[in-house]
């Protein structure tokens, strides 16, 4: 077979854009799971809500992309705050499975509500004027907007990583993940920390949603579709390492793009196939610690 090198590179760059979303989402999912012990099934729905919030801000108040990028995470974060305090908090003492069931129900209810309000079809969201156009990379024309998503997404992920690994706040977070009772004994308010972590995690998903709005169509199913892939990404990377989640997300995006170019039929399944292989060869995940 002869492969078109330009096509492969082009698809891989586009795959990297998806990889950025995988990284942002799996990052939030890992941090929330690490501290709260809850697999946040609703993570994809918060991603979707981020896109819808950007759309609504534009439609109702004429607020454009850039202010939305700052406002939406605040809105989604506030929503996460409410969800943690009113719903998730009561489940910490129970089996972890109830957290999964609850967030799944929440995801259904929110997605249903969005479908009732906006209908099932996708809504358009325009690329900001300052990022129109494309750059010629030699092998492809890369739209500026997608280039921005890749760069900004990676910077966002690395910033989150630095905050967790290199700041006093992050140190407390890591300590609380390790041993909440001990951290509580040192006088840190762990319940507030859990709430804020959940809020921050879903706010991150919200930013992802805003960034995705001009690329993916803004539709109610966008969250659920991506969250299952992100689960596979998390299993592949293992939840022990923040940096591992970022790297795994990006790499799998690239791989997905590559597959699209050489064997398009398998592009939607390749990540799941990788998951199976990793589970057989290294059950704890590429960067995971032993349970």
């Amino acid at each position: 077979m002869d492969f078109n090198m330009n096509l492969i590179l082009g698809q891989m760059v586009l795959g990297l854009v998806n990889g950025v979303f995988y990284a942002i989402l799996s990052l939030g999912l890992s941090v929330i799971f690490g501290l709260l012990g809850v697999i946040n099934f609703a993570h994809g729905v918060f991603f979707m809500l981020g896109a819808f919030a950007a759309y609504m801000l534009g439609e109702l108040f004429g607020i454009g992309y850039w202010p939305a990028l700052l406002l939406v995470p605040l809105i989604i974060g506030a929503l996460g705050l409410v969800v943690e305090v009113t719903l998730i908090r009561s489940l910490y003492k129970l089996d972890h499975l109830y957290g999964l069931l609850l967030t799944m129900g929440l995801a259904f209810a929110i997605e249903g509500l969005i479908r009732i309000t906006f209908g099932p079809q996708g809504l358009p969201y325009n690329i900001p004027d300052s990022l129109r156009g494309a750059i010629n990379l030699g092998f492809m024309f890369l739209p500026y907007y997608r280039a921005w998503v890749v760069v900004a997404g990676i910077i966002l992920c690395v910033t989150v990583w630095l905050v967790i690994e290199r700041t006093p706040l992050g140190a407390k977070l890591r300590a609380a993940t390790d041993n909440p009772q001990m951290v509580q004994a040192f006088g840190i308010n762990v319940p507030v920390m859990l709430t804020l972590t959940y809020a921050a995690g879903v706010a991150l998903a919200g930013i992802g949603g805003v960034m995705a709005a001009p690329i993916m169509s803004v539709d109610p199913a966008m969250g659920t579709n991506i969250v299952i892939v992100v689960f596979a990404v998390v299993v592949i990377g293992g939840m022990g390492s923040i940096f591992g989640s970022i790297l795994t997300g990006l790499a799998l995006g690239l791989l997905e793009g590559f597959t699209k170019a050489v064997f398009a039929e398998a592009s939607s399944t390749v990540i799941f196939v990788v998951m199976v292989i990793v589970l057989i060869a290294r059950p704890r995940g590429l960067f995971g610690k032993m349970a």
């Binding site: 609850l102 209810a109 479908r115 939607s268 399944t269 998951m275």
Partner: protein, 331 residues
């Protein structure tokens, strides 16, 4: 998922009762069995038989799911793959290879079992929430394969599935004949599930659910038993999916999508995780809700979500779980 916190799940301590146990049921369960039998007999004169048969298929599906979640403590989110592929293979073999009713259903059951063996072999490497995520991802992979594979007929599905005859005698094209057969199958499977749960094999599964390490230290090969339970559950799910395909004479992508998996979870949760008759009650409630809300489109999804949240927060043990606690019995 290990149910370490046995207080929140139904902590079944089986006492070896030597008293009267008709069909292997405890007295309370026996009366529920009688009630279920009467309901199966009376219901078709009140409600549409096709709708009832749909409920029965989901009861069998949820019984299969509950064997795994309620009695082994494994939380799967991938049961749509077994149910959906069971439906596809039953439908395809009946429509294209001329398989009769029994052979087509066997085809669906075996499909579920084989797929369950593969899923189980991969997923049992991890426990807890990882197990749930892995099964979900594997089922999504199966969905994408079905979306593209030619045998599924894509968006159209496998249509025009002949119902055939039962043992070459009963013509199943007649809705009423089919109804009595499906009703009898349902009752038989409820009796069977109670038998399995209370067999020595079922005891080992519950020992694993309550404390995997203790079961291991007693010399049981925990992973092997989990795999047996998984394959059994998958085979029964494939059977249920196949039965549904024959009743409705169609198998579609919906059967193999995440929706079907969440349906099994929701029914089990509403009825009561780890109760014999929970799937019966749960299925009636969940499917009726969907049936009567169906004209309102996305309200179904919204309501399902609310029911999920409500039961997790307020009725965690499910309806029968709460009732059995109140009356200090086992249902």
């Amino acid at each position: 998922m290990t149910m370490a916190d046995t207080k929140t799940m139904s902590n079944t301590t089986t006492v070896a009762t030597t008293g009267f146990q008709p069909l292997g049921f405890s007295p309370a369960r026996f009366w529920l069995m009688v009630a279920t039998t009467l309901a199966v007999i009376v219901a078709p004169f009140v409600l549409y038989p096709i709708f009832l048969m749909k409920i029965y298929c989901f009861i069998i599906f949820a019984i299969a799911y509950n064997l795994l979640l309620g009695y082994t403590g494994l939380m799967s989110f991938g049961h749509a793959a077994f149910w959906g592929m069971g439906a596809y293979l039953t439908a395809y073999s009946a429509a294209n290879w001329g398989f009769g009713f029994e052979m087509a259903l066997l085809m669906g059951t075996v499909t579920g079992a084989v797929l369950g063996l593969i899923f189980g072999w991969v997923a049992i490497r991890r426990t807890g929430l990882y197990f749930a995520m892995i099964t979900l991802a594997l089922a999504q992979m199966v969905y994408f394969i079905c979306l593209q594979a030619p045998f599924t007929g894509g968006e159209d599905g496998v249509q025009g599935v002949p119902r055939g005859t039962f043992l070459g005698i009963l013509d199943l094209r007649n809705d009423w004949t089919l109804y009595w057969l499906v009703g009898a199958i349902l009752l038989a499977i409820i009796i069977l599930s109670n038998r399995v749960v209370h067999s020595p094999f079922g005891q080992v599964l519950r020992a694993i659910r309550n404390n995997p390490n203790r079961a291991k230290s007693l010399g049981y090969n925990v992973d092997r038993y989990k795999l047996y339970a998984f394959v059994m559950s998958a085979a029964l799910s494939g059977f249920a999916g196949g039965l549904k395909a024959i009743i409705f004479q169609i198998a579609t992508l919906t059967d193999v999508s995440t929706i079907a998996s969440t349906e099994a979870v929701l029914i089990t949760l509403v009825g009561g995780i780890g109760t014999i008759f929970g799937p019966v009650v749960g299925s009636m409630i969940v499917l009726s809700l969907e049936h009567y809300l169906a004209p309102y489109g996305p309200w179904v999804m919204f309501t399902q979500g609310i029911v999920f949240v409500f039961f997790v927060l307020v009725f965690r043990k499910g309806l029968l779980g709460e009732i059995q606690d109140y009356f200090k019995t086992k249902l």
